[in-house]
């Protein structure tokens, strides 16, 4: 390690390295690898949305915007959220445009956490939750979700994990990497618990449009929750706009104000052309979104059936675009399985432990890819399993 490491803050130095980075380094050098490791849509942003960004540039709209985002963006978000999720937010004081949900969550944590505060979150989960909490000198407390429950958050497990000092609950349904969702009854129990313990709730609903079974319910829409929920959403998944880096937070004014302070000093504002593309997505993107969701669903059905045929039990994810098969029958741990599969058959899946200790025994396979690739990956995984089962 070079000597400049002495300058790195202790709480940063002690963050674990993302398990995904190592895989990326290997896979990117492999020529004929089949990657099921990509956590983003395999669609290009729909043309009309790209066109809106181009038009914005052509008109010379290249300036900063209001720290909160353009008036038009916030008004459009307000309409979209009210229509699709229920709660109404005031564009003047309760909506903030951010650089994706990643920034929204980061500035929320920084705006509300004091050192030593505790944050409940369910695991396996997106890779940034626990590290972002640690960066705020706060403590992340995982609540395990399990395959038998289709990785929905069990309110009883949440209650069991609670400790004095818990201030915030982070939830993400549908969930990356498990595809877990939460139905109204579960959310009502979670909401009741949040009210009882006076928790603020951060609800990352980035995959909400990609719900395949049942209706998505936002916890923010439940009685008594709007005033204690920060609704986080963005455009990356539903509208295939990952590279635009655009998202938003909606919530009660005082918390949004706190986030705005962090945002204005750290970021200034989200890029104007991304905000304008996002407005087009909100106004006219529904058909494209439905088309992509339909495609994901078809591929989901195939990949899940394939894993089960191969003897890697896999629940049917009800949302997002990840299958999360159980690989324990191979006798390997997640990391070994993923490494060996990559070395022997050049198929990349992400070890479940990259998403927290609760992901042990699982691997994540994205079905946001072509049938051809999923089929080929299936054949290679079959060969891999043959060798290890014979061996």
């Amino acid at each position: 390690m070079d000597s400049s490491s002495r300058f790195v803050a202790r709480h940063v130095a002690s963050l674990p390295k993302s398990g995904i980075r190592d895989f990326f380094a290997i896979v990117s050098k492999m020529k004929d690898a089949v990657s099921l490791g990509i956590g983003e849509p395999d669609f290009v942003t729909p043309y009309h949305i790209r066109e809106a960004a181009i038009a914005s540039l052509e008109k010379g709209r290249t300036s900063y915007t209001d720290n909160r985002g353009t008036q038009q963006f916030r008004e459009e978000v307000s309409r979209y959220v009210a229509k699709n999720y229920g709660p109404e937010y005031d564009p003047e004081t309760e909506i903030l445009a951010t650089i994706g949900v990643s920034e929204a969550l980061d500035i929320l944590l920084r705006a509300v956490l004091n050192p030593g505060d505790k944050v409940l979150y369910h695991e396996p989960c997106y890779v940034s939750y626990a590290p972002s909490v640690a960066l705020c000198h706060a403590e992340a407390i995982p609540v395990r979700t399990v395959s038998a429950d289709q990785f929905a958050l069990d309110p009883a497990a949440l209650r069991a994990a609670w400790q004095p000092g818990c201030k915030l609950l982070v939830i993400n349904f549908p969930t990356n990497p498990t595809g877990g969702t939460a139905d109204r009854a579960k959310l009502e129990a979670i909401a009741k618990f949040a009210i009882e313990k006076d928790l603020l709730v951060a609800s990352d609903e980035i995959y909400s449009e990609l719900t395949f079974e049942g209706d998505h319910v936002s916890i923010a829409s439940l009685p008594g929750m709007r005033e204690r929920t920060i609704f986080l959403h963005g455009f990356s998944k539903a509208f295939a706009m990952t590279g635009f880096r655009i998202g938003y937070a909606c919530g009660p004014a005082a918390v949004i104000d706190g986030m705005l302070k962090v945002h204005q000093y750290g970021i200034m504002c989200a890029p104007i052309m991304s905000q304008e593309a996002a407005v087009e997505a909100l106004r006219n993107g529904r058909d494209s979104m439905l088309h992509m969701r339909y495609k994901y669903r078809e591929r989901r059905d195939f990949i899940v059936r394939r894993f089960n045929e191969l003897g890697l039990p896999c629940h049917l994810p009800r949302g997002a675009f990840y299958a999360f098969p159980d690989i324990t029958s191979t006798g390997m741990d997640s990391m070994t399985f993923a490494q060996q599969l990559l070395e022997q058959q050049k198929v990349a899946m992400v070890p479940g432990t990259a998403f927290g200790a609760a992901g042990a025994g699982f691997c994540r396979a994205s079905f946001s890819t072509s049938y051809e690739k999923i089929h080929e990956a299936g054949e290679r995984i079959a060969r891999f399993l043959d060798t290890i089962r014979k061996g």
């Binding site: 995904i20 490791g37 990509i38 956590g39 983003e40 890779v127 049938y371 051809e372 999923i374 299936g378």
Partner: protein, 160 residues
């Protein structure tokens, strides 16, 4: 829509065994579905989509607008069917607007297309006039962008 047909129209290069596995049918069942679609006249055939830049090393392609007179020559259908029977003709459509038939032809070289126009087409009773346009360069063909720079070349192969 028939699930086999839908998968083929998606444009992915899948063989019947792959299609069978994806749809949970088995290759024989897919073959049976395809045979039925052919028999019903729904599926006329399946061809690979070639990059025209590769193809044009050996072939030229032209689109010909044809004005026709229908009296005494069997109407539009009679002439269109006759023109369609030439092997040089790739496709033939009856059109609205300033001309009647739009015909796409391919040949080994420009002179052969010219020969086809004046020796064959122009001699058909009912053909009043033709206007021939040669394809110069293809940018998109059958839904495929021809020279797309890899859209995802900077996309990480593994990401969170």
């Amino acid at each position: 829509m028939n699930s086999v047909l839908k998968l083929i129209l998606d444009g992915e290069a899948l063989d019947t065994a792959q299609i069978g596995k994806i749809l949970g049918l088995g290759a024989e069942a897919v073959d049976r579905e395809l045979a039925a679609l052919r028999q019903q006249g729904v599926l006329l055939g399946m061809r690979p989509v070639l990059n025209p830049a590769f193809e044009s090393e050996h072939r030229v392609r032209a689109v010909i607008e044809i004005k026709i007179r229908t009296e005494g020559v069997g109407g539009f259908d009679g002439i269109a069917e006759r023109i369609s029977s030439f092997e040089q003709v790739e496709s033939c459509y009856l059109m609205s607007g300033g001309y009647d038939l739009l015909v796409v032809v391919t040949a080994d070289n420009l002179y052969k297309v010219a020969g086809f126009v004046h020796e064959r087409l122009a001699r058909i009773d009912g053909v009043q006039g033709t206007s021939t346009h040669f394809f110069l360069r293809a940018y998109k063909k059958d839904g495929f962008i021809v020279n797309s720079e890899a859209a995802h070349r900077d996309q990480p192969s593994v990401s969170p």
